[in-house]
Symmetry: C2
Subunit: 369 residues, 2 copies
Amino acid sequence: MTTYSLLILPGDGIGPEVMAEVRKVIGWFETNRGLSFDVSEDLVGGAAYDKHGKPLADETMAKALEVDAVLLGAVGGPAYDNLDFSVKPERGLLRLRKEMDLFANLRPAQCFDALADFSSLKRDVVAGLDILIVRELTSGVYFGQPRGISADDTPGNEGGRVGVNTQRYTSGEIRRVARAAFELARKRNNRVCSMEKANVMESGILWREEVQWVHDNEYPDVELSHMYADNGAMQLVRNPRQFDVIVTDNLFGDILSDAAAMLTGSLGMLPSASLGAPMENGRPRAMYEPVHGSAPDITGQGKANPIACILSFAMALRYSYGLGDEADRLERAVEKVLADGVRTGDLMGPEGGTPVSTSQMGDAIVAAL
Amino acid sequence: MTTYSLLILPGDGIGPEVMAEVRKVIGWFETNRGLSFDVSEDLVGGAAYDKHGKPLADETMAKALEVDAVLLGAVGGPAYDNLDFSVKPERGLLRLRKEMDLFANLRPAQCFDALADFSSLKRDVVAGLDILIVRELTSGVYFGQPRGISADDTPGNEGGRVGVNTQRYTSGEIRRVARAAFELARKRNNRVCSMEKANVMESGILWREEVQWVHDNEYPDVELSHMYADNGAMQLVRNPRQFDVIVTDNLFGDILSDAAAMLTGSLGMLPSASLGAPMENGRPRAMYEPVHGSAPDITGQGKANPIACILSFAMALRYSYGLGDEADRLERAVEKVLADGVRTGDLMGPEGGTPVSTSQMGDAIVAAL
Ligand SMILES: CC(C)[C@H](C(=O)O)[C@@H](O)C(=O)O
Ligand SMILES: CC(C)[C@H](C(=O)O)[C@@H](O)C(=O)O
């Protein structure tokens, strides 16, 4: 029997709370579907800093490189805001992305019909929205050298310092994430929109040319368009349904995917997958995470919505374990629970009602499986 | 009698069409208010490229440095899409910003009540929205060195190229734009939110520290908060009215201000001002522009909305000529015309009606003055 390995990194804030509900879901699949998971758990972010003095221990990094999939909760929180840059909780996350070489970050922005009224956008603008942002995750200004803050005594420079970061993309880095986007588009509506600032940045010109090259040589059947990222932000607000797959760089992807997620009104619902090159078993190296953060304001109150993390596990079932049917089953259970009106606090409309707790939501999903 | 100098750069696409309406407004002020304007006109963008082989002639640049204010229409269009990077229409605009040292770009995002239903956001989320984005405009990744595309034969780099841009901010550059934001906040609701990615970029850490320094030492009376730019994008979509003044860097400002402008549903209505250091007369060096672009799809059809450009001229009256009362007068005329139901095509709701032309809109505003 195949055993599926999973490294769980609950992290900070509500991370551990939502992860407890995923544990219930895993238990259900083991008991009722005869699946065997080899689950290990470890620390990341502030929790790792508290124990090890750094946001990701080397042993944890090594383990992440061995397993079929990593499931991460969230990192960061006010207790860690004043830490030195090099040991900030976020550095743990960035190290995982970089050393696992997870170059394609898949961020679906889907508007669940039951929740369309929660969006700040008009229902007819977002109902049925289903777009996928593919964000490059291992390069660009997040990782480019040189970087840092240094003294700068140029006459007239009040304060005497300068801060530098470097946006750097190779053609190879652009091509591989472009291929990921085109492959995904073929399974969807066959359209890719690539976003950059080629009118202002040479790295954006390279981005545009290389995406076009991959299209012309390998995916001529997919419809490709290009858009400046500022216009992209506008169009996402104006009419997000015009898009199918969006492919963009690390920094633009960070901002545009957060805006897109918020359009749906379902931030507590959105999963993500970060995929790398295929491992020996043919499946990509992978980490899964809810799009939401550590939510310090509601930590420890049983209020967190575990659905984004549970749907992230569904993505693991699909992309890492090849269990598409089980992923469907889990996604249907979530839909059913929502249709039944079960709601955590973040999903309560103005009409009110009684919210369920994190744990009750997890139980309801397990019951619906 | 004071003569107010103005350099008009209509540029490309609908630029010349909307500028013709500003000419009518200027004429009205001369005839009826006894003001004297010394108006010159020149080329920028694609129009300048067609004549000079570059998007801004040196003589035009020199003239821009002499006048009290520059009013620019829009640059770019499909005819220029394949030009070399160094002569793209946008380079003309960037050269003006850089050599005039226009470090503070003021982009109001205001939701006009008559138009609140045009937003893709719910009326109760945007009605009455009045925020001001102050974008740093002369530095950051737009101008940092090194930059460019070069060969990169690192083994495994498919395609063999690399693209580089440099995000670079000095403490002095950050402090001066922060001061501009705090000054503006004092005349509004006294709140500034600064946005960066200090969790990922050292230049963002410097940004945060320097803005905080200016606050603590010079503007302790203004309420200051900090937000990561990705969260900022989310919050702009979720609840834009939480903000008063937002201050951010060149690239984030580009994206966030476009998203914010689109929230209002009034893209054809939004002006902007780019301000530099004080000149000899004590007024800042300044360029004014509509937020909208060259709109090639409607160029030459008499469909363009001239209001954004006319309101940009109103900002010139206020900031460059010290004619706040005349600016108020012009803004009230625009409001009256809108309240009377006069609408260009971009302002037609689903209920329909007959749109007026660019020229008719200009005439209506002049009549309402
Ligand atoms: C926490 C932070 C480092 C991270 C990022 O900027 O990538 C987050 O915003 C995200 O989008 O996953
Ligand atoms: C035209 C382009 C160079 C410009 C920019 O990126 O700054 C535009 O998008 C703007 O916001 O004024």
